[in-house]
């Protein structure tokens, strides 16, 4: 394999029900940086049904080209259908790098493709950069947490192309949208081998839509074991309501059924980087810290002054959240009335 034959940075622009997911824009922002270093192009791959008109939006977020595959077979994500199309595009276009969101879609499809392409794949990356390798050529260095977030590892594929990575949502910065930015939009017609379509979608059951995505929130009031129960979370919710924030949870309170999985922050939950993260009664296991330590400003309230959460907090309060949170809520109400 001659590595030089493989060019450009491809981004799988994940959409669900026709809505391009935030992680796609985040990946485009990062792909733009990488492609500029490599002096190559950013190519977005938009697969779905009835989605073609959204291609321009990907151009305005950093893509030089958008390859659109708009066909009824791709209406809902199914592993085999999507993998066949992606494989055909990658075989034909020979990208240098392919990035996917580390979502239930990206983490389903990317390894399937890696195995089909015999390509290297790095999961759940939090940092991507270009470095010169031993052969004088430029390689992608993908850094990711391992051992439950206890260790970081930088992974390279020195001999193979394409280099593929999945990237955690909420980690990369999207590019400021540039209205009117110019790019090429290319239609791609796949050849489906329908004999391999062995999985049928019977129905999709939507999760309760009442819950907004915590990864999108500017202010998060998060609770852990110290919150005790649902009534404890009601106190956090009251505080969140005052500042127009949302409530998030540690794994402990999800595992014991008090809070739903959608609001879990951490290694096995979501990565968040809000402007304010207030950790109430969260001790701060490394798996939790991995999901929130990039937040702009972190306040921690905990009874145990040795709790590891204080090691990442900008402001730490040793005290009882059950007293402080309601007092703070009342005080903020007064402040905001002024």
């Amino acid at each position: 394999m001659d590595k030089k034959d493989y060019k450009n940075v491809f981004v799988f622009a994940e959409q669900r029900e026709g809505v391009i997911q935030p992680v796609a824009f985040e990946l485009l922002g990062k792909a733009r940086d990488l492609a500029d270093v490599l002096q190559q192009k950013v190519v977005a791959l938009l697969l779905g049904c009835g989605i073609k008109e959204q291609a321009q939006c990907l151009v305005e977020h950093g893509a030089d080209e958008v390859i659109v595959v708009d066909t009824p077979e791709l209406k809902d994500y199914l592993s085999e259908q999507y993998s066949q199309v992606m494989y055909q595009i990658i075989e034909q276009r020979k990208p240098n790098i392919v990035l996917y969101g580390a979502t239930t879609i990206g983490r389903d499809m990317a390894p399937r493709l890696a195995s089909r392409l015999k390509a290297g794949l790095t999961a759940d990356c939090t940092k991507l950069e270009i470095q010169e390798g031993a052969d004088g050529q430029l390689d992608l260095h993908s850094t990711r947490p391992a051992f439950g977030g206890n260790l970081m590892a930088t992974i390279v594929c020195p001999n193979t192309r394409p280099q593929m990575s999945t990237v955690r949502p909420g980690v990369m910065q999207k590019m400021q949208r540039q209205p009117g930015r110019q790019g090429v939009i290319t239609d791609f017609k796949p050849n489906f081998d329908t004999s391999k379509f062995k999985v049928k979608l019977v129905e999709t059951i939507k999760a309760d839509k009442q819950m907004a995505d915590i990864a999108e929130a500017k202010y998060l009031i998060a609770g852990g074991r110290g919150v005790h129960n649902r009534e404890g979370f009601d106190k956090l919710q009251a505080l969140a309501d005052v500042i127009d924030g949302q409530v998030a949870s540690s794994r402990a309170m999800v595992d014991n059924g008090v809070m739903p999985h959608e609001c879990q922050v951490g290694q096995t939950g979501k990565t968040v980087r809000p402007n304010l993260y207030m950790a109430c009664g969260i001790s701060g296991a490394i798996q939790h810290l991995a999901g929130m330590e990039e937040s702009d400003f972190i306040i921690a309230i905990n009874k145990d002054k040795f709790a590891p959460i204080f090691s990442v907090a900008d402001l730490g309060i040793v005290g009882d959240l059950h007293k402080i949170v309601p007092m703070l809520t009342e005080r903020l109400k007064k402040e905001l009335e002024k």
Binding site: S79, F147, K196, E262
Partner: protein, 260 residues
Amino acid sequence: MKIIVCVKQVPDTTEIKIDPVKGTLIRDGVPSIMNPDDKGGLELALRLKDQHGAHVTVISMGPPQADVILREALAMGADRAILLSDRKFAGADTLATSYALSGLCRTLDYDLIIAGRQAIDGDTAQVGPELAEHLDLPQITYVADARRLDNGNLLVHKENEDSVQVLEVEGKCLLTVLASAFEPRYMSVAGIMKAYEREVEVWGADRIDVDESKLGLAGSPTKVFKSFPKALKAPGEVHEVSEEEAVELIVNKLKEKHII
């Protein structure tokens, strides 16, 4: 029904500490366990066995001492256990690992393969889908429920971030399973007795259907360039004060940061 369950022995990552001086993992005294998602997968296999009758083979790849988790699987109710253990597998990344496992699966007769979603040491979630591709099997990941229908197909619930997909799969397939959906059973006393009468078969690379040049380090496109402990940011201020003062401190900071 013949079911293969893939399991991995992992260090209990919640017990791992970092040596603050050397910056390396302290593994001494950290217990090795059966990976939780894999144990959930074994539980699903055993439930299908309870309901429909099945022969359950557990397989693993690892050093000889990984036989401990296979014995545990036998004691939970698995019928056969095979450990792939050979220096030729050393240094394998997920692609080379899944390739070796595919070589083992090809020598066995199966209707269904079950793996865990991901292992808690690597957290990659890659071996399952990669194995499915090597064997040209359909895959369903993030499985929270699976039932066999009267027509022999499986009805599977796949848990996504914002929805559950109900999927029907025809013929052989591979599922990757969430631990949270399948509370594993305990080993039974009779099971433990039987587990020690049974043999954990240890197989080398020569017994499986593979091209040996694609095993281990040589068959691995990814290399670890470096690993390092996570840099912790400098801690901020911590106050032990009255509740009133605490509220004052927080309000002042929120103002300073223009949050209020």
